[in-house]
Point group: C3
Chain length 88, copies 3
């Protein structure tokens, strides 16, 4: 299993979360703030099977509006290995 | 060292955090929201020794109320490897 | 790539974030709470090149005020491996 940590602009977070949930992904949202511009953002945590990572990243990309400022991307995405996953 | 990332219902978070602290674990709480039902939840980050992971997960399980809806679990638990830990 | 997860006292978070940004690091801030003393804190997520980890931890240490209470440290720092990083 892998965990995606995706940092999105607040304005894209609903569209991205809906698209992921509709495709059967599970996600948790955390409010965050950019270190440099200090704007509100949303950090999504997505635990998923290894072979679904590319599909999830594509969904994130397709459901973000194109950025308006130079240098700012649609989303920043980290993928971490999950050692162990369980629901109790 | 490992890091547990546990997603709990808000109503269980105090009981779980108390039980972990009483047992000598260290924890940090982050407010979160479910991607699907959009209810408030609590994400706990727990840095701990590898051999304590099973005990911590058991404490989480034992201190959550049984879920009321079908399909919803007491807690969702990710365990990640920590490369390096330090307190400065 | 690595990810630093640093738990700071709220009162240090601006100084630390400024110092990291001025040095060219990228960071995302998340509001958090201590499990034991239940005081507000800031959790910083910093994705960075492996060979920059030591410099970032030094910057964190140098930009936190010395703690006032026994047992409390300036900052708690976890370093995790990042499998894959992308901006879309
Ligand atoms: N030290 C620095 N010097 C010069 N320019 C800087 C800079 N830090 C950030 N920027 C620029 O400012 C934009 C907003 O950064 P902010 O930190 O508010 O908001 C960031 C931050 O919250 C997060 N982020 C990006 N890279 C990150 C990383 N390596 N680690 C943690 N968070 C990251 O994603 C948001 C959007 O990043 P994006 O790259 O699209 O866009 C960034 C980037 O173009
Ligand atoms: N792999 C994962 N990655 C990241 N976060 C995860 C996760 N698995 C669970 N979570 C987190 O734990 C909460 C409870 O999940 P649970 O599986 O017990 O209970 C879930 C599950 O039974 C169902 N569900 C969630 N996503 C679904 C989807 N895409 N399709 C159908 N049912 C879904 O709705 C309940 C509430 O979901 P909600 O999203 O509001 O809240 C979720 C979510 O915040
Ligand atoms: N392994 C870990 N995993 C996740 N988060 C961690 C962690 N180690 C530290 N933290 C985070 O860093 C904050 C400061 O920890 P520190 O060790 O400096 O200072 C701590 C420590 O001296 C003491 N403490 C914490 N937990 C304890 C416990 N179970 N028993 C006795 N003392 C405890 O109380 C101070 C404040 O703790 P608080 O929980 O309010 O706030 C903690 C917690 O949010």
């Amino acid at each position: 299993m892998k965990m995606i940590i995706a940092i999105l602009r607040d304005s894209d977070s609903d569209n991205v979360a809906h698209a992921l949930i509709d495709a059967g992904f599970r996600a948790t949202r955390i409010a965050s703030t950019g270190g440099f511009l200090r704007r509100g953002s949303t950090t999504l945590m997505i635990g998923l099977d290894d072979e679904k990572v590319a599909q999830a990243i594509q969904l994130i990309r397709d459901n973000c509006a194109p950025p308006e400022e130079t240098g700012v991307k649609r989303a920043t995405v980290f993928v971490l290995k999950v050692d162990h996953f369980t629901q109790v």
